[in-house]
């Protein structure tokens, strides 16, 4: 009898714990888009398969700002039902493929809810920025 009660309580607690970790996201947007995204073909190097399977890169697009800086936007999708924490940072390269050194690379912590689709973006630190690389780390 005691074991039965204990098992019921344990299952209830486990259920509560699991449901507490789950998040989901509903969204709505205009179907007829007026803005046209200029998509960029990307090349990926995956060393953390676990993160890549949870937070996938949907697409990359770029645009030039009025000041002549390259701006890049990345669309991410959390394919799981639980929130995922990660950090990312952008590296920029000039026309010769040389890395543009900034003060210090800024690593940005971020979080994406279960099933959420979100964008991250960055802008080249100088007008010479032509290419980029983004590094993601699971937290």
């Amino acid at each position: 009898m005691k074991t039965g009660n204990f098992l019921t309580l344990a299952s209830a607690l486990l259920l509560l714990f699991v449901s507490g970790c789950k998040t989901s996201m509903n969204s709505v947007e205009n179907a007829q888009k007026t803005g046209q995204r200029q998509m960029v073909s990307d090349q990926r190097a995956i060393t953390d398969k676990s993160l890549a399977s949870k937070v996938s890169i949907v697409g990359v697009n770029s645009a030039m700002t009025p000041g002549g800086f390259l701006k890049v936007q990345i669309e991410l999708l959390n394919t799981t039902r639980s929130p995922q924490r990660f950090s990312y940072h952008f590296e920029w390269f000039d026309a010769n493929g040389m890395q543009i050194t900034t003060l210090a690379p800024v690593e940005i912590p971020d979080q994406i809810q279960g099933g959420e689709d979100k964008f991250i973006s960055s802008m080249a630190p100088t007008a010479d920025g032509r290419d980029f690389r983004v590094k993601f780390i699971a937290l």
Partner: protein, 198 residues
């Protein structure tokens, strides 16, 4: 007899595990994900993130391009500290200044400062001397001034503490007195205690 063997073994295991957890002094990347995170204070990675975001927004706005003689000249005005900690504002402003200089869109004057004080008094002295000798003003007046505020909002629920730091900046055209660009970056940290890493 068994205890005599087990106890030293257990003690040795505890010692080994303890030694494995202790970290010797080592270098970490500034602003990287191995930096210490505290809830009630602004950490170096927060300054870096705020400066990086707001510099990007300022450059993207194109506000600095709207000057007669580019690059624009910027003077640093008052940035109010409304947090519970003492802040050296250069931790924020210097990063923005360096990034703007590297972008080629703005230069910061070191001879014009708040209340007539100059960041570089020697340069100001030489400039005044040159102006006196040539009998004309060589000083380029700033096209914009940068002012702002850092605000801390702290709340607590049970053992969990949360701090939001709001970094607010305004770029003002002193000729019109109008803010031509304004930026705000909020960073919120939550937890029960400080930690190493994000």
């Amino acid at each position: 007899m068994k205890n005599k063997i087990l106890m030293p073994l257990l003690a040795m295991t505890v010692l080994l595990v303890g030694a494995g957890c202790a970290t010797n002094a080592h270098y970490v990347q500034t602003g990287g994900n191995q930096n210490v995170v505290t809830i009630g204070q602004i950490n170096i990675q927060d300054y870096m993130q705020a400066a990086d975001t707001m510099t990007g927004e300022l450059l993207a706005s194109g506000a600095l391009n709207r000057v007669a003689n580019p690059p624009a000249v910027l003077a640093i005005s008052r940035i109010v500290n409304n947090t519970g900690q003492q802040i050296d504002m250069d931790l924020l402003t210097k990063k923005i200044r360096v990034a703007l200089l590297q972008s080629g869109k703005a230069l910061t004057t070191t001879t014009v400062g708040l209340g007539g004080t100059a960041e570089d008094p020697m340069a100001k002295g030489i400039q005044q001397e040159n102006d006196f000798k040539s009998d004309q003003q060589t000083t380029r007046t700033p096209d914009f001034t940068l002012s702002g505020k850092i605000i801390q909002l702290a709340v607590k629920a049970g053992n969990t503490s949360q701090s939001t730091f709001s970094f607010q900046l305004s770029l003002t055209d002193p000729k019109s007195g109008l803010a031509v660009w304004e930026g705000e970056k909020e960073i919120t940290k939550q937890g029960t205690r400080s930690s190493v890493g994000f």
